[in-house]
Point group: D2
Chain length 337, copies 4
């Protein structure tokens, strides 16, 4: 309450708390009163108080997400994608082209990345593009090509779905549904993806707080689908020297707040291929359970995101460094209890 | 090109430009070469160059939006919503509750704001909420109530549509389809709304640049729907003392870049009712063609956004000040040619 | 406290509060305890708690600034600059070149803006420039020219001081000391400027929160200097279409939080001369007590900030519109009590 | 030029370029002209063009920093701090308390971190604090304690200087002068620190772009002082779950753009001790040449920044992990040429 709040204003707030079936706890400070609101889903009611006279500020104490929280489920969630485990000890590499541009380039990439240790093939079939005049993806044709690549290489398949009406189609081909940064708060899509039962990789909105990200995960989880993978892919900041600012802090923080596995997309998060290697290593050092990496046989000819795609040689060097890193950090002193 | 680029690297870039059917213009500086790329939709091809060796930076000169640009259409677009003109001389006030919570509160609000000069009734039927546990709106029931309020008061109706499957339903009741900040880059929704033929009010994404906002408008316009109203509603910044930072600069800037009308939502843009009045006046002084204002008969009882809703008395004062302001600025010296 | 906090952890926190001479108020929720900390300067001690086990989050309730707060001094502070009153009814225009480039251009500008109603002459003598290779100002020579312009036109003089060692020199010539955005947290400078006794105009740091800005004002006020003018000049955000994002919300919000007058710099806040007019009107409509406007007789020849300087003709139109606006809003309905 | 620019406007720009002694290169596109400006310090003149009619946008091609650039000096700069080499192969750990609070806690910390492999002792003597009511440091007394700790442990000493007048004093005791985030654009301080001849560690401004940071380094370098260490310490973004957002992308990017060594401060960059370990490993994996880590014997009793300080046990685990990491990445595949 404001320090000028009159006693009857304090009482009115207390009465409102009780009216909503919640419990008030009043604490009188030297120059102001603080009223705790306890019980049920207090979060949902906060707006009921915003206009009462004498209130200075409403501060939320309890986290608004529940199923996604580490308090709800203390142990790490490990997601099984047809035998590939995400969130366990292994760092899972998901690699492939930004967009599936044709069967040949896809097969060439799939074979190469599988040989070097990638476990999942990424590739865009439906592309959300900022400009209506940019290449929008090959759609179902691309999905079929990815299924073909899976059959040959054994790689699992992850691809983006951009609208609720496509969920059923994409789920028919993909092993993991990817929800993109522009759709993190597309609630109809979150719910439809949740209902599909497929594992969902939820990219962080480019201007979403960690709390909003976990609340978006809550939309999927509350459909009864517990297989949510979180993907940090960079946030929008004032810095324009890189396409986005990869939020490295988010990796250990989300691991504290949530039991869900966190993977990182350094291609989107940097926008520049020469930064993808160092930032991939950084992500794993910070505790990421996987990486999503754009690889293209000929990045100069890519129809989208060529600037941030690795060619095969650079990818190979990254995989080599990654192997050493994960070996060295397999038994971290800092994680011993 | 980098200042270390070798002549054959410069030639390779020039060759690539020609291969794509574009025209190169090379300019040799003291310590580096600059290659201009001219023709067609050069923007769509920029990624083709990102990987060529010797390139230091790719700089875009032409704006990527076309139908939305002032260059394409020099005169202001005026949108006719059943006789209410948006983008002409009048400042159009769209007022009403954040969510339609019931027929009584809606009718009471509609009658009040109509009597004070509002022309359009706003109200949420489908609400995109950050938490799955918050009130999500009354759906079609709310749409019917708004149609009823229109029949009685003569106000036109604007309401949000949040998923492509609902466009047809919402378009049956509403005069203007509102696309919300979380859906600014929901391209399936943009296209479906475009195809409906109804006027579309496109809110700026909370972390979208002005260029991305105009490109989102381009998605609607490119469906043959020329009735797009842009709505500035605050962007996300480091400042947390207000819910968002209303980008006042965007109003005159968008008027320079585009022929589309710009309106402002000071309720969302501030998140605090006591700031709505001053910021509304500011928006109009900066050149906004309309305002979207949350009004609630009893803001303390609102199921959503109570903190930023005006009660009737505060709304009345704002309308009074607004009348004086628009009178005073009707013939601005700064707009005389 | 975390919901897993053990009773002895709660007790340890309570004991720490008492040890520091503060008063604990414990409130037990359904699944966690909340401990209020009351008394003295609780803010300064917050770090003493950060490491205690079982604490989930430390939330600050009381504002950390005091002398700058509206609670400390309910009535508006009006600052008298040699007869020019800032923070009273009048909107005070401070106009002049970004940098003082020579006596002729300065006198020409001063005469012109004085004739159109400006009351204070602005002009840079010491320029903090991002690049060491840019023009850094004429120094004391420029101060002398400004004093000369004051003698002839009656305008008061405001100019920036960028280092503590220059405070005495600048205070000898200027009527108001300007502290720039890059120096908002240059505490040695804040204190030295405070001790000078001169009115101080404190620009908001480009990435400073409103709270930090008022704390910076507190540094000056706590030297016994009550003459602080706050200047909103745009904050840094992800939007690059304008140089900065002018935070229009900050104007009415700071007026709620503080008794100090707020002025606005639309030249810096937009970075584009064509936006200065509309944004100036917006600032005044939002409640600003003054404007700081860059005016140059020949902006194309300016040695700094030409892009955001008004020429005389544009300035004249703005002053004309400003006159109408202030007339219309002299007796705002929304400010009637 | 705008696509509506008339031929005489194009000519006027060309004439202006020549008048300034620069060289114009005109390239005529399909619907607009582009004029390249070549020669000398074209950057400094950009404002001369801002007002010319017909110009649509001015785009900077050449980087504005020179001495800091990798183009100027292709090989890595290695800075010798009394035998400790920063920027060579070794990852240099600088550890110690946020503030020097007394001789005992300082000696205890110094001995501990030295025994575990730290090479430089950090500690604040002069503290720039947001609130005038917070602890401001022990000043020269603290400098003497640090010198004493150096004498006993062999650690080198780094400490912050916050105002030009203190540079001589601080330089008498310290081996490296630290310039803090709030002072990155305190140009008088940059120049004074540059003139001292001491190695300077320049923290990135919390809202500074990488370009501005390198320009700030240029201020020091242009005084003839080549010993500049850059320190990434987190930038300010919309995310409030952590104190700042550590910009991991900046590490490899600055190494591309500049020859200067980059170190990282994960204590400031996260604001939360439990994140310091993972983010430290990430920084080194991304290519940092050193770490600046806050360590306190009893973080709960710290007078500043307790929340982000490591206790001895956590520091020890970090050093153990760091040892393995640097071993594994000593010969990175990705850095082989």
């Amino acid at each position: 309450m404001s320090h000028q709040a009159r006693p009857e204003q304090v009482e009115a707030v207390v009465a409102k708390v009780k009216e909503l079936g919640l419990r008030p706890e009043t604490s009188l400070g030297e120059d102001r009163a603080v009223i705790g609101v306890i019980g049920g889903n207090a979060y949902a009611y906060r707006e009921a108080f915003a206009h009462l006279p004498g209130i200075q500020e409403i501060v939320q104490i309890t986290k608004p997400f529940k199923l996604a929280s580490r308090e709800w489920r203390p142990q790490d969630t490990v997601i099984d994608v047809g035998g590939v485990k995400i969130g366990g000890g292994e760092v899972v590499v998901m690699a492939g082209p930004c967009s599936v541009e044709g069967v040949e380039m896809l097969m060439e990439t799939a074979r190469h990345v599988a040989a070097r240790g990638a476990r999942i093939l990424r590739g865009g079939a439906f592309k959300p593009r900022t400009s209506p005049y940019s290449f929008q993806g090959l759609g179902e044709e691309a999905l079929k090509m990815m299924a073909e690549a899976r059959a040959e290489t054994g790689l699992k398949v992850i691809t983006e779905v951009i609208t609720p009406a496509d969920v059923e189609l994409v789920a028919r081909y993909a092993d993991v549904l990817q929800l993109g940064t522009r759709n993190m708060q597309n609630y109809a899509l979150l719910q439809e993806a949740g209902r599909s039962g497929k594992p969902v990789m939820l990219k962080r909105g480019m201007s979403s707080t960690i709390e909003e990200w976990l609340l978006a995960a809550e939309y999927v989880l509350s459909q009864g689908n517990r297989n949510v993978i979180l993907c940090e892919r960079g946030i929008r900041t004032f810095e324009t020297a890189t396409r986005f600012t990869l939020d490295i802090n988010a990796i250990p923080l989300v691991r504290e707040l949530s039991h869900l596995p966190v993977v990182v997309d350094p291609s989107q998060g940097t926008g520049k291929w020469s930064l993808v290697g160092p930032v991939s290593l950084a992500a794993v050092a910070a505790g990421a359970s996987g990486l999503l990496i754009e690889v293209h046989p000929h990045p100069d000819d890519a129809l989208s995101d060529g600037a941030q795609s690795l060619d095969f040689e650079t990818f190979d060097r990254l995989m080599e460094d990654l192997g050493r890193l994960t070996g060295a950090l397999a038994d971290r002193a800092s994680l011993r209890r």
